[in-house]
């Protein structure tokens, strides 16, 4: 039986796909058989971030509609061999993801994998509901910014009322807060909500804080999940988040502004 983890947020552009790529890669790197599913039908992106866009032949919707087998659609990652990607369809309607269809695919994946990571589309409509419906755990990606925090709270409401676990009266979906695009300097100047502010408002356990980092864009340009940039701040922050997801205790890092050395100040003008 696989553990099903949805990466969700309500708001778009907060870092769900970036997070799905890094968390799934991190789980797989530790030897767990992991599959990451792109639920963003019509706007697939995960394939680009995972650098497998030219290997997509069949997709999630093809499998649901019986036009391809799961084996034909799954793409094996070239860097981590316990990692597979199930790409979204680029051409279909979101409604092609039916509850029964998604369940069938998830049940089949569940027999072969330890972790199923679901990269949710933005919004609180059909696509986002399908991505979270079967989840055991939810990583709620939030930026320290008013509209993102509000949308995260709405998504929490939906997890608590519309997920399968809620509908069946089972234990609730386990919620994790992942605060992303965090800028400690701006927090210190009082311009940005702090980790403590967001924790207080959303009142769910903190899985990690990912700093706003240039490295994320560089990595996505190359199709590299940023967790594989092992020397970078964002990469290490994701590594810590994966460890915590697996139950390890890790102290939170990258939450206060880094003291700049003399040279970096000289050359970056900081």
């Amino acid at each position: 039986m696989a553990r099903i983890i949805v990466v969700t947020s309500g708001k778009g552009g907060v870092g769900k796909t970036t997070t799905s790529a890094s968390i799934s890669t991190g789980l797989a790197k530790r030897g767990h058989k992991t599959v990451v599913i792109d639920f963003d039908v019509g706007l697939r992106n995960l394939d680009l971030i995972m650098n497998c866009e030219r290997r997509v032949v069949y997709d999630f919707v093809n499998v649901i509609q019986g036009e391809a087998t799961l084996n034909q659609a799954l793409i094996r990652d070239k860097r981590v061999d316990t990692l597979y990607i199930l790409p979204a369809s680029q051409t279909r309607e979101k409604e092609a993801l039916t509850k029964d269809g998604v369940e069938k695919v998830i049940n089949e994946l569940s027999e072969r994998f330890d972790y199923i990571v679901c990269d949710s589309p933005a919004g609180i409509e059909h696509g986002a509901l399908m991505a979270l419906y079967y989840a055991d755990e939810a990583i709620v990606v939030t930026n320290p910014e008013v509209s993102s925090v509000r949308d995260s709270d709405r998504i929490l409401g939906i997890l608590q009322s519309k997920s399968r676990r809620a509908e069946m009266g089972q234990d609730p979906v386990k919620e994790h807060l992942l605060l992303s695009r965090y800028n400690p300097d701006r927090v210190q100047r009082g311009e940005m909500l702090s980790v403590a502010d967001v924790e207080e408002i959303l009142a769910i356990p903190l899985l990690g804080v990912i700093p706003e980092s240039q490295v994320v864009l560089n990595a996505s340009n190359q199709g590299l999940p940023v967790i594989l940039e092992e020397d970078s701040d964002a990469g290490q922050a994701y590594e810590d988040a994966v460890a915590r997801l697996l139950g390890e205790e890790r102290e939170h890092r990258f939450m206060s502004s880094q003291k700049k050395g003399f040279f970096s100040r000289m050359f970056k003008g900081g």
Binding site: V146, S161, L193
Partner: protein, 84 residues
């Protein structure tokens, strides 16, 4: 930087605390809404129809809310009548 810019930037500097306050209010409000039972809109609609047999009122003049406490729930009904 002019004299006024100084105060403007001071104000911006504290924008995070404004954001936090606004969020606390809106999130508390929206959570309250979420916990309302599904039948409220229908109940409100029927109440409006009954009251309109006697007094002409507009939709927003009937407010229905459920207040849950530990021991019991209270159905709160507020009807505003037009001035005459």
């Amino acid at each position: 930087m002019s004299f006024f810019d100084y105060f403007k930037s001071k104000k911006n500097n504290r924008s995070a605390s404004v954001a936090k306050e606004r969020l606390q209010i809106i999130v508390a409000h929206e959570r309250g809404q979420r916990e309302q039972p599904d039948y409220l809109p229908a109940l409100q609609k029927e109440l409006l129809e009954v009251i309109r047999k006697y007094v002409q009122i507009s939709d927003d003049m009937v407010q229905v809310e459920v207040d849950r406490n530990d021991s019991c729930s209270v159905l709160e009904l507020n009807v505003t009548l037009p001035e005459h």
